[in-house]
Subunit: 273 residues, 2 copies
């Protein structure tokens, strides 16, 4: 926490260095374990997603914005969007790292970016995410620019300083998506908050695709928009809409009634190449 | 690899030290990540299982018995049994380590033990496992005592030197187990060999239990016997038999026909306390 009075100016960029202790950018190392790869030897996207969330968590934690600190204030971070785009997927036994930084803070949201790097520093790909901070009691979003006197703005790394060269989050337009699978939710789907874990949706969505897609192509881009939480015991129904031969939109709805109504839990776009 | 001629004596114990580089015992560190805990904040057993297999893999690899070396000889390790017993389960943000060693080598099998330790060295619990080495072409087990001139025997840590104070693997007696769930297998269930990943069975088996079991009790012991492989697209049917109010046996069969016949993939015993 800081009492730096400059931070009430939203466009203020602090003089903090980009890297190093107390800088604005963090690096999170990863190693591709044997059980973390698919039948092609490529890291599962869910595992990569988990690493991204860990990198984000560590970055916040070190700057006093971690979940532990927030929970004391009855607040928490909620992931709203995640878009990952990859030139290549890390393979078994490779070492890499994830750089993460906050690109911007807009009252109720932060845009956090990621670079997914090989050991030699070249990129496997990049990711973008949007997070809200909510009050645990009201479930309403908090104004990030007034909290802690706007301390978070000191950590912003603007686009001119550090690029994230992938497209922003897209929009979903579902017309008549087809129901392809309905599954129950169980013990191993649920996180410490009692919600279905945000990574599990990624796994369930990719499980809709046949083996051939992963054998003959590779995942190029995956976008997900989290709309509402689901809980243990909820039934999740997966609706699919082909955009073209390489791109598929997926909508996940919970507890769909006989007449087809059910709340939208998340929406995803999956692109193979 | 060694050409030490003493190793043709099965009971020969090498003069290697217990710990340290080139010793017989390894330590594998772990950290309990946020997405690796259940709704009670306890590490998922599947995650712990994954750490045990990594610890085993590293231990073999460092001694020239790892999968990479074996694959060049068209051989691989196959996990046959795994029994885990816990006084306590690691919790979110805790650091721990897994000690592993080979307790004995019996021609076609090795008995490998594990101690699951807190940061202060006190045990969360222990595990036992049985592994066979098979020829990748014939799928037949190899004689471990003649391979590499019996080099593996040098690494044995007999029970007098290092105890694993939990019961050995039990026997399963299925009488009339009840079918409780049948599931498909998908992309995220499959490992690099195209098999359903041995950890995924653990997750699917624990998913059979209601939330209340995990809320009001904790997992005390989990045993699994792997019988045959299953593959992407196989249907897995879960048969359950209550032993007493705290203990349940589970049998997993694949592609069960209408008259109830299907090959047994694995059997498990789950004990809560």
């Amino acid at each position: 926490m800081t009492t730096d009075s400059n931070t009430d100016n939203n466009t203020h960029i602090s003089p903090l260095p980009l890297e190093g202790d107390g800088g604005r950018l963090d690096s999170y190392p990863f190693y591709v374990e044997p059980f973390h790869v698919d039948f092609m030897g490529r890291m599962f996207l869910g595992i990569l997603g988990n690493h991204l969330l860990n990198a984000a968590g560590n970055h916040s934690q070190r700057r006093g914005w971690g979940i532990t600190a927030l929970n004391e204030n009855h607040q928490t971070w909620v992931l709203s969007r995640l878009s990952i785009e990859l030139e290549d997927m890390p393979r078994q036994h490779e070492h890499g790292s994830i750089e993460t930084w906050v690109e911007s803070v807009i009252k109720l949201f932060t845009n956090r970016n990621f670079a997914i790097l090989r050991e030699d520093g070249t990129p496997y790909g990049y990711a973008r995410s949007i997070w809200a901070m909510i009050d645990l009691e009201t479930r309403k979003p908090c104004d990030l620019l007034t909290l802690y006197d706007g301390d978070i703005v000191r950590y912003v790394v603007q686009e001119e300083e550090k690029q994230c060269p992938i497209a922003g989050h897209g929009r979903f337009k579902f017309r008549e998506p087809q129901l392809v699978r309905t599954i129950g939710t169980y013990y191993s789907d649920v996180d410490i908050n009692g919600h279905i874990n945000s990574i599990k949706y990624i796994e369930h969505i990719l499980d809709l695709f046949p083996m051939e897609r992963f054998r003959n192509q590779r995942l190029q881009r995956f976008e997900i928009a989290y709309k509402t939480e689901s809980y243990l015991g909820d039934q999740l129904s997966f609706y699919v809409q082909e955009v073209d031969e390489n791109e598929t939109d997926v909508e996940v709805r919970k507890n769909v009634t006989e007449d087809g109504n059910g709340e939208v839990v998340c929406q995803a776009k999956v692109r193979f190449r």
